[in-house]
């Protein structure tokens, strides 16, 4: 105990005492020094003891120099001056002399006196009140509203706020940049956060002005990136503003010349950024976002730009979100989209361009989904056993084949960031609770049925074949077909042509779509163009393919052939509708329980390990076959 005790206290060594005495011009004997040293130690402890009382009564945890000086003063010892600084004093040592000292820099008084940057006095002490807990429940912080404060802001802060908002929303891009940068790094604006959040929540009022919306989104980004800000539940408010930009049919998007797509893309990126960095601040945020995205996606009345937003939003939230929300909705949605895309009327041109946008977005999202899923599966498979050479091969080939699209570590980081946990957290009763993952092959089959060779992901070695070869004609076709299409769309439209190219090649139904479009658009029940053109053989074929997706590939041609054969224009609409219904019925069991529908259940019984190589091996010829077949028979 004694040893422990000794170490617990500060000790002043005999030598120190003697040194001090020498400094004062006194020679000390050894025993005297020892006695003095011991006494000094004791007095130190005593003073520390009594100084802690001052600390306790000042309701602090940190013992200050002032506390110590008070204790000294009350025991009639002179206070020690010169240690009042708030900052820690560096304690330095000189090696040679074994000397330790507190660094004491000279202060240049002249410089200080003539200094131009006079430090401002600290802000005024004030009292601020907020309702912390209402009825003892929950944290009640006003969302997006300015909290009432007794004395809310100091003049300086107010000025800062005005300058910043003026700069960001003003005309000068340079000024805006500066303001955004400051917003991103300023450590003292915590008090202004509610106000900025309030400003940002004004997106609704400027939905006609893309420029302003963009600036507001940039503001969000700056706030989110500011490391000194604790967003707390303001995250919710920010997210809702961002979601507005992603999802809403903005006033600005009426004019096709307005590039609201970029805004949506940017906002989606921002959403994912907020989510990954601040998602933990608000519980259930992920679910709420997913729900609202899903709602938009499943609402056919919404304009395509909203759907586009939902898709990019899901894409930004990660492949799991895509898998959970977009993928199950795809069949239902596909029909609508198809209708739009296949409507060649001039009046539909604009809508169709939008449709292509959505198509492109879906394609990108879905490709990533496939990649990630394959990767995660292969990883888990690797972890499980080495008995799945095929799957590993598949994954590896995929990696080799699409190096630039997504770096391999990404899925890992996603998993680590806890998407899964967020999904689990999700409120009970959410409809995707009963969601079960679709095995990759089935998913691939299904997706392939939609996109055909447009899918850049292949579970084989020769990916480039399917995607790139039709690329050039498609682009040509696209540019030919959609001259008014905005230039900025290039990126997404690039994928579109694959579809059109495929359409071009197909000889079988060459005539029907061309002739068809006008009547269906008129006869559409919802008077919506995309719903009206449902009779399309392509859609029907895809439907049938879908139903039979689980079966062997040989079924495709039959299914495809049967449906076009039964498509006189007027009649086909009915079929389309019926098929829709059928498909939906068929799909659900397909998704949730495999046992119910025998044709579908044909897949799962075989293990993945078994199945994947089959795809890999068999897929190649099959795909080629389907590919050629496809190209032969798809309608133009």
């Amino acid at each position: 105990m004694a040893d422990r005790e000794e170490r617990r206290f500060a000790e002043v060594s005999r030598e120190s005492v003697r040194l001090m005495a020498e400094g004062a011009g006194v020679e000390l004997g050894d025993d005297v020094a020892a006695l003095l040293a011991e006494d000094v130690c004791y007095r130190l402890r005593e003073a520390t003891q009594s100084s802690s009382q001052f600390m306790r009564h000042a309701k602090r945890r940190k013992l200050t120099v002032e506390d110590f000086n008070r204790a000294l003063r009350w025991s009639n010892v002179e206070a020690i001056c010169g240690y009042g600084a708030q900052d820690a004093l560096p304690f330095r040592s000189v090696k040679e002399g074994e000397l330790f000292f507190v660094e004491d820099r000279d202060v240049n008084l002249v410089e200080l006196a003539l200094a131009t940057n006079i430090p401002k006095g600290c802000a005024e002490t004030m009292v601020r009140v907020n309702v912390s807990y209402l009825d003892g429940k929950g944290n009640l912080e006003p969302q997006g509203t300015v909290p009432t404060a007794v004395q809310s802001l100091s003049d300086d802060l107010l000025k800062y706020y005005q300058q910043i908002t003026r700069a960001i929303l003003g005309e000068d891009p340079h000024l805006m940049k500066v303001a955004l940068l400051d917003l991103q790094s300023n450590s003292k604006i915590a008090a202004l956060l509610p106000y900025f959040v309030y400003v940002i929540s004004g997106v609704k009022s400027v939905s006609h002005d893309l420029e302003q919306l963009n600036r507001l989104m940039h503001m969000v980004k700056s706030l989110v990136q500011n490391p000194y800000l604790y967003l707390g539940s303001y995250v919710r408010s920010l997210v809702s503003s961002v979601m507005y930009c992603i999802l809403e049919p903005l006033a600005a998007s009426i004019n096709p010349l307005n590039d609201h797509w970029t805004l949506r893309d940017y906002a989606a990126l921002l959403l994912s950024h907020i989510f990954w960095t601040h998602g933990d601040l608000v519980s259930g945020l992920y679910h709420q976002i997913l729900l609202s995205l899903q709602k938009v996606l499943s609402d056919p009345v919404r304009p395509l730009c909203s759907h586009y937003g939902a898709v990019v939003g899901l894409h930004a939230l990660g492949w799991k979100a895509v898998e959970r929300v977009l993928f199950p909705h795809l069949p239902a949605y596909w029909a609508n989209l198809q209708a739009v895309l296949d409507d060649y009327s001039v009046s539909n041109a604009q809508v169709k361009a939008d449709g292509h946008k959505v198509y492109g977005a879906i394609l990108v999202a879905v490709e990533r989904l496939l990649k990630m899923k394959a990767l995660s599966l292969s990883q888990s498979a690797e972890g499980q056993s080495g008995a799945h050479p095929g799957s590993v091969v598949g994954a590896v080939s995929y990696r080799v084949n699409s190096p630039g699209l997504s770096p391999p570590p990404e899925p890992l980081s996603e998993a680590a960031l806890g998407i899964a946990s967020h999904l689990q957290v999700g409120g009970a009763g959410c409809h995707w609770e009963e969601w079960t993952p679709v095995p990759l092959p089935a998913m691939y089959c299904e997706l392939y049925s939609f996109f055909g060779d447009s899918l850049a992901v292949r579970f084989s070695t020769g990916t480039g074949f399917g995607t790139h070869s039709p690329c050039t004609p498609s682009q040509l076709g696209d540019s030919r077909k959609e001259p008014p299409g905005p230039a900025s769309n290039l990126d997404t439209t690039r994928k579109m042509p694959q579809l059109t190219a495929n359409l071009n090649i197909s000889p079988r139904q060459d005539g029907s779509p061309r002739t068809d479009p006008p009547p269906p658009s008129l006869s559409g029940p919802g008077s919506l163009p995309r719903a009206s053109s449902m009779q399309r053989s392509r859609s029907s074929s895809s439907c049938s393919r879908q139903r039979s997706a689980g079966l062997s590939r040989e079924v495709f041609p039959k299914a495809r052939f049967t449906s076009p054969q039964t498509t006189p224009p007027a009649f086909s609409f009915l079929i389309g509708g019926r098929q829709m219904g059928q498909r939906c019925q068929g799909r659900r069991p397909f998704q949730t329980m495999f046992a119910t529908t025998p044709p579908v259940s044909a897949i799962p019984p075989r293990t993945y390990a078994h199945k994947l190589p089959v795809i890999g091996r068999v897929g190649k010829p099959v795909r080629r076959w389907t590919c050629s077949h496809y190209s032969l028979h798809l309608p133009l």
Binding site: M1, K59, Q151
Partner: protein
């Protein structure tokens, strides 16, 4: 009190309580001062309770040493019936007496000399030769005081004349509580005399053996006795260690400490740390903690069986060393009945001087509330008030009665209305009462299912350090005391703070006008906050007067200041404490206030007196917090000695001592009905006390740091506690108190079983981001307000 030198050993023989009957008070004080009194020493083996009221005979108490009776005084045997040795006066005792006589004579107190001599039955002529003899033997004979060991004589004198905090209190106590009881007067003897009690010594190397022996014995004793007897360890350990240190056996002391300090209860760690730093006799002088150990007897409650066991063992072993310490420094409060369990003991122990003696909590306390004098008033005012509220004041009355049992004279527990004089109600007070009633009708009934909303007042930019906060009862003003010596007041309503106009301007006002009160205010000075300068040290305590016209602040500079909230200037500086004043509070009826501080005394003041009306002395360490009972007849003080004391304002007596906290107490709160007291300490626990029965009735565990604020909701259903750990916690007070009514409360022993039901009672925990909660307040409608400074 006299010290005589024996051959090699010095004895300090202490007479206590001899003075009052013998000599008149002034002299008594003088003697008290000159010769510090070590009191209560003869009681060690007394099994029956000793009445602490002043006994008629000055020698009613035994000498400390060896339990010998000091003299053949007739009274001694009456009060100490079971003394073993009622032998004749020993030579040492005689010498003591003679020395006293000589001292008295020297100071020309011939009358006292006569009385004393008569009492002691000494021959007149015996004085001189013996006195000479003893004076010759001693070295400090010049002063007439025969003292021990050279240097101590002068130090004693200097101590006496000096104004150490302990010394200064003796006279004040005398004035306030004169004739109260010797037991109180014995509390603060002088330092070196106290220390000299250690001068007797055995073989230092045997201490370890003694202690180990006892330890072995207690460890082998029956389970039911072991817990009780284990209580002895700590005080024995401390005293044996100090004895070793005092007699300059430094290495033995260290070895002793090293060997046995690990055995002590963990809640004594703080004290042990202080002890461990103390290894030299020189250091003992002036060490406050040490003083505390010495100046009071460590009180233990032990059942008779256990005690007999211990006694027999010590006698068999001839273990005089330990027996001496037990008799000298310990007070063993023996009770008949079942030995207590370990948990029961742990619940009550932890204070600096052991538990409270049982009789200390026997006095009747009038904890009931005073009758509200103007309950009728709302009826008159009703007409002018809003029409639709006519019924409400009437409804209010029965409710009030049920809540506070304020009905006229029917509450047997309420003090009489004029037990202490209270200020007359002014018209403005009556208006305020009416406001209060109206608000009370809108009060939310709280409960476990209906928790209050919490509003937080955050002090921003309080870089100078916020040290105290108070809110007015109507929650219209908030005041902060700061470490930079300022007091700041904010208005938390839209109504701004205004000063009264200057005298010249006031002359111009039409004094007859109805709105004269409005006219006297200077609109130019309106602002949301006012700063008041005056203190020269951190402001540790702050309190609004009930009428919101005054503000009190107590500071490190040793003063309590009264500020006017009309002029925002200082009106009075109450000086008296001379040391930091940790806390102050206004009486709920105004006019009186209480303050307590580093000098270990609490003082009761009236605003119009510059000197205190009462001085409450008895705590062994700093008084850290002070609270008025709702009926204003009592004052509770919490202290660093880990006890809470309740003082009667009327008599100045200590009527309750509550022990059980394991750390300095920093917050107190009375329940609105006056029956219960809640206390919070640095150990993060809240303890609940029944005032009437003087018992601990609950323990609330949950906080992880010092509890700086406690408050009951207006109806007493909820207890809110705010702490350094950045949380506010709400506790189900109703349940905590209800549960105990079902217990067999009248159990005379007062040993209650505390169930560990903190988690059931905890209704909610509310956290702040980084703001320690240092004040809590329930508005009249039961909205909870919390306050603290943001701690970036």
């Amino acid at each position: 009190m006299i010290a005589l030198t024996g051959k090699n050993q010095s004895y300090v023989l202490v007479l206590y309580g001899l003075c009052f009957p013998l000599i008149h008070v002034a002299h008594a004080q003088f003697i008290l001062k000159m010769a510090a009194v070590q009191g209560g020493m003869g009681d060690a083996d007394i099994k029956t309770d000793i009445k602490t009221e002043p006994s008629a005979d000055g020698f009613g108490n035994n000498n400390a040493n060896d339990g010998r009776v000091l003299s053949a005084s007739p009274g001694s045997s009456s009060s100490t019936g079971s003394n073993k040795q009622t032998a004749a006066v020993t030579p040492e005792d005689q010498q003591t007496l003679l020395a006293v006589l000589q001292f008295l004579k020297k100071n020309k107190l011939s009358e006292s000399v006569e009385i004393l001599r008569r009492e002691a039955g000494l021959p007149e002529n015996s004085l001189d030769p013996k006195a000479n003899e003893s004076a010759g033997a001693g070295s400090g004979g010049a002063a007439g005081i025969v003292d021990l060991e050279g240097g101590d004589a002068s130090s004693l004198l200097s101590r006496v004349t000096g104004s150490s905090s302990a010394g200064a209190q003796a006279p004040t106590k005398g004035t306030v509580q004169s004739g109260c009881c010797p037991a109180v007067a014995e509390d603060q003897p002088d330092v070196s005399v106290v220390l000299s009690a250690y001068s007797q010594q055995g073989d230092p190397t045997l201490y370890k053996v003694y202690y180990r022996d006892l330890k072995k014995f207690i460890e082998t004793v029956l389970d039911c006795h072991r817990a009780e007897l284990s209580q002895v360890f700590y005080p024995l350990f401390v005293h044996m260690y100090l004895e070793l240190v005092y007699n300059n056996h430094e290495s033995e002391a260290k070895a002793f400490f090293e060997k046995f300090s690990g055995d002590q209860e963990c809640y004594y760690e703080e004290d042990l740390r202080i002890l461990s730093g103390l290894t030299k006799k020189e250091h003992m002088r002036g060490n406050e903690t040490l003083l505390d150990f010495r100046t009071s007897k460590f009180v233990l409650r032990i059942s008779r069986d256990s005690y007999q066991l211990l006694k027999r063992h010590l006698q068999e072993r001839q273990n005089n060393q330990i027996w001496n310490i037990i008799q000298e420094h310990l007070y063993i409060d023996i009770f008949d009945g079942m030995p207590r369990s370990k948990s029961q003991i742990d619940a009550m122990s932890g204070s600096l001087a052991g538990e409270a003696k049982r009789e200390a909590n026997k006095t009747k306390v009038y904890y009931g509330l005073l009758k509200e004098p103007e309950i009728e008033l709302p009826l008159d005012d009703e007409d002018e008030e809003a029409e639709n509220e006519e019924g409400k004041p009437k409804k209010k009355k029965p409710k009030k009665d049920s809540v506070g049992s304020k009905s006229k004279k029917q509450d047997p527990n309420a003090p009489s209305q004029n037990r202490i004089p209270l200020p007359e109600l002014k018209d403005s007070d009556k208006l305020d009462k009416i406001m209060y009633m109206k608000e009370a009708t809108k009060r939310i009934r709280l409960g476990p299912d209906n928790l209050p909303s919490v509003c937080f007042y955050t002090f921003l930019n309080a870089y100078q350090g916020l040290t105290a906060v108070d809110l007015t009862d109507d929650s219209s003003l908030i005041a902060g005391g700061f470490a930079d010596s300022t007091v700041r007041v904010w208005s938390v309503t839209p109504k701004k703070l205004r000063k009264v106009k200057s005298a010249a301007d006031l002359n111009l006002i039409d004094k007859e006008s109805d709105d004269v009160l409005e006219r006297i205010m200077d609109e130019k000075t309106a602002s949301e906050s006012k700063i008041m300068y005056g203190h020269s040290g951190p402001v540790y305590g702050i309190s609004f007067s009930p009428d919101r016209n005054y503000l009190l602040s107590s500071s490190e500079d040793g003063t309590v200041r009264l500020w006017s909230l009309l002029t925002f200037t200082c009106l009075v500086a109450y000086k008296g404490h001379n040391y930091p004043v940790w806390d102050t509070q206004f009486s709920p009826y105004g006019y009186y206030f209480v303050s307590g501080g580093h000098d270990r005394v609490a003082r009761l003041w009236a605003t119009d007196h510059y000197q205190p009306l009462r001085i409450f002395s008895g705590h062994l360490a700093d008084i850290t917090c002070t609270r008025f009972h709702p009926n204003s007849n009592y004052v509770a003080t919490g202290s660093s000695d880990r006890t809470i004391r309740l003082w009667d304002v009327l008599s100045g007596n200590c009527v309750r001592i509550f022990t059980g906290h394991k750390g300095p107490i920093h917050s107190l709160a009375f329940s609105p009905n006056g029956k219960f007291l809640a206390s919070g300490a640095t150990d993060g626990r809240v303890l609940l006390w029944d005032i009437g029965h003087g018992l601990m009735v609950g323990e609330l565990k949950g906080h992880t740091d010092t509890i700086y604020s406690l408050r009951f909701s207006r109806d007493g259903e909820i207890l809110a506690s705010g702490s350094m750990d950045n949380t506010v916690r709400l506790w189900d007070a109703m349940k905590a108190f209800d549960d105990l009514e079902t217990d067999d409360f009248t159990a005379a022993t007062g040993h209650i079983h505390l169930q560990d039901n903190s988690q059931e009672l905890l209704l909610g925990t509310y956290t702040t981001k980084s703001t320690p909660v240092i004040h809590l307040h329930f508005t009249r409608r039961n909205l909870l307000l919390a306050a603290g400074a943001f701690n970036p």
